[in-house]
Symmetry: C2
Subunit: 105 residues, 2 copies
Amino acid sequence: MAFGYAASMRAQPGKRDDVIKILLSGLDGLRQAGCSVYAVSVEDEDPDMIRIYEVWESAEHHTASLQLPETKAAIATAMPMLTGEFTARHGTVVGGLGVGGLGVA
Amino acid sequence: MAFGYAASMRAQPGKRDDVIKILLSGLDGLRQAGCSVYAVSVEDEDPDMIRIYEVWESAEHHTASLQLPETKAAIATAMPMLTGEFTARHGTVVGGLGVGGLGVA
């Protein structure tokens, strides 16, 4: 079953867009690693907050992606621009639109 | 800019999968209404909880979709199977993978 992952991270004041650039720099690698959705969003009410929603072919694909050199490099580059406030939640994607080969739509 | 929407709803005990069937019954209509991602997920730790992550072309597309007859019918059918515990959050999707025509990937 597909793996859904929702994370939030707080950027240092003024650094949000720099972090987003890093997050969006490796999209082709994510697709090849089994990611079908990687949505980076911001909120007017909280200008330092970054939220990411991801759908992966499996939890194992997601875990393996964290070992990719480019992922490790991106995390290392972004870390100093983050406050350390981080949340994450995961679940099983049972169906939907645009969620990859789930045989639904 | 694309509109990201994350919602959670608690089903009555034993009704989760019936609600999910309703949620997944209108996917073609959602795509035509401007939705590029509609991911329905469940969690082992909380068997009555349903989470949905959506990406729409705009907030207006999302709002308009709630007026569609099939959306209204689906909500009316599902409501008795829900406890009323509902959360929602929204933001602006600035880029990513599988998030529709954002000109990124």
